[in-house]
Amino acid sequence: MKEIRIHGRGGQGAVTTSEIIVYAAVQDGKYGACFPYFGFEKKGGPVSAFVRIDENKIREKSQVYNPDCIMVIDPTLLNSVDVFVGAKENAILVINTKTIEGIEIPGNITKVAYVDANAASMDIFGKLLPNTIVLGAFVKATNWVSFDKVSEKTQEIWGPKNIEALEFGYNNVVIKEVKGGIIHD
């Protein structure tokens, strides 16, 4: 089973992103389940969503405490939320950031995939909508769901501009191996 925890801010589409991943997993012939961290979601406040993908039916109904992948849609969350808590050994970090210099990456994360989704979002949409760009980066970095199915659902929900964003993330993500918190090219 692959467990994913998505960190975003209210209004950034973290929950819808989790639903698109589940859609793709199911279309790929696997099982998927997701739900948001329940609360009174406020625009701009930290939100998280939990996704599970497996070859078998997913039975537990609880939050993801030990993710195989952590997706960070908004880099400023690093200042307020411990996004790394509980990460599994050899976990993957997918993050929206210009640079990973200065980010203290814990030892159990062995792969970092990053893309400057804020800058790309300004180019594509003229405003800050980084989630589909990070989603594209996630698909490339993990290869857990097929790009075509993610693209299909993204098109249905958000339309063609977001396909451009998704493709940007997929094609421009920088993937680095990490060992003991030290980044390798």
Partner: protein
Amino acid sequence: MKNIKVLDGNHAAAIGAILSKPDVVAAYPITPQTPLVQHFSQYVADGVMNSTIVEPESEHSAMSVLTGASLAGARTFTATSSQGLALMYEPYFRASTMRLPIVMNIVNREMISPQSVWGGPQDSLTVRDAGWIQIYVEDNQEILDMTIQAFKIAENKDVLLPINICYDGFYLSHMTEGVEVPLQEEVNGFLPPYKPTHVKLDPETPMAVDPLTPGNYLQYYRELHMQAMDNAKKIIKEVNDEFAEKFGRDYFGLVEPYRMEDAEYVLVTLGSLTGAARIAVDMAREKGIKCGLIKIRSLRPFPKDEVRELLKKAKAIGVIDRNVSFGWHTGIIYQEIKSAISNLDAVPTVPFIGGLGGEDLTTDLMVEALDCVIKAGENKQIDNEAHWLINRKGR
């Protein structure tokens, strides 16, 4: 080819209701039920179906509208949660004692105080004696399938009782997963139209409904109501079996046994927490421990014979309650199970309480519960204090 859609629990419920073609839907929105009503209204607005939707000013009015509609011969559907259910208590009771086969999904939400919007079946369990059939489900597929089955059970001429399909708020209502959606023609072939004769407001053939009634008659009506509940046991199983044959999904009727073949240590579960308990059972089985679980699906009518039969060889039992019974220091399901097995030899039975107010009931906690049951069995400890399951993850 299977028609698999990716749906959250509320959307699955809305589709189940749409496929059942209710004539009248009256609902007042409340978290976490709100998206169900939203989806339903969308389908009607899109012309997918032509139910009459009433948006009343409260849940009390919603149930009252459906009471009138059902008396006029309509198939009716609604949904609510928590305080909404509490507010409709009076017409809720009347719907059952007037024998109106209204279908109402209850999206289980914790009762106040303190303020909470999160999951927990305290709301519907508290009104278990109001004469409705209550069925609790585990995942989104079961929500959809049981919403369809609900109409067939409720409208059966030997039952004619309203029914609740209860599912955990957020854990199912807002959880998205793949759900197989039956075709309309298939559902049409399974669920015939509702044609009431037992109680109906019809100017052509007038009938006095709900007049002031002295105790001797009222007592007789209660007896008939109890008889209908007993009949429902058979009908729930029959409808389950017919559904399984037509749609290929079998839920075992009133209670589902899981790995119970030779089980000595047994967990009793209800609702969405069952999945984690299944995993705990599988893990213990891998170590050679003879354990299993039973999932209570029908709380009313309560499957006392089935439960007694399934538990008669158990060396120890644990009941997982996501609710409380104030004054007993146990949960409600624990009381039900103890009543059902009261004429068996005393067996260690442990009351567990956890997952209140939307707290996670993780696989780890189910393992903890099972370990505790095994220990109580080995020590032959008949009397057991409530064991509170406390989620320490993410704290």
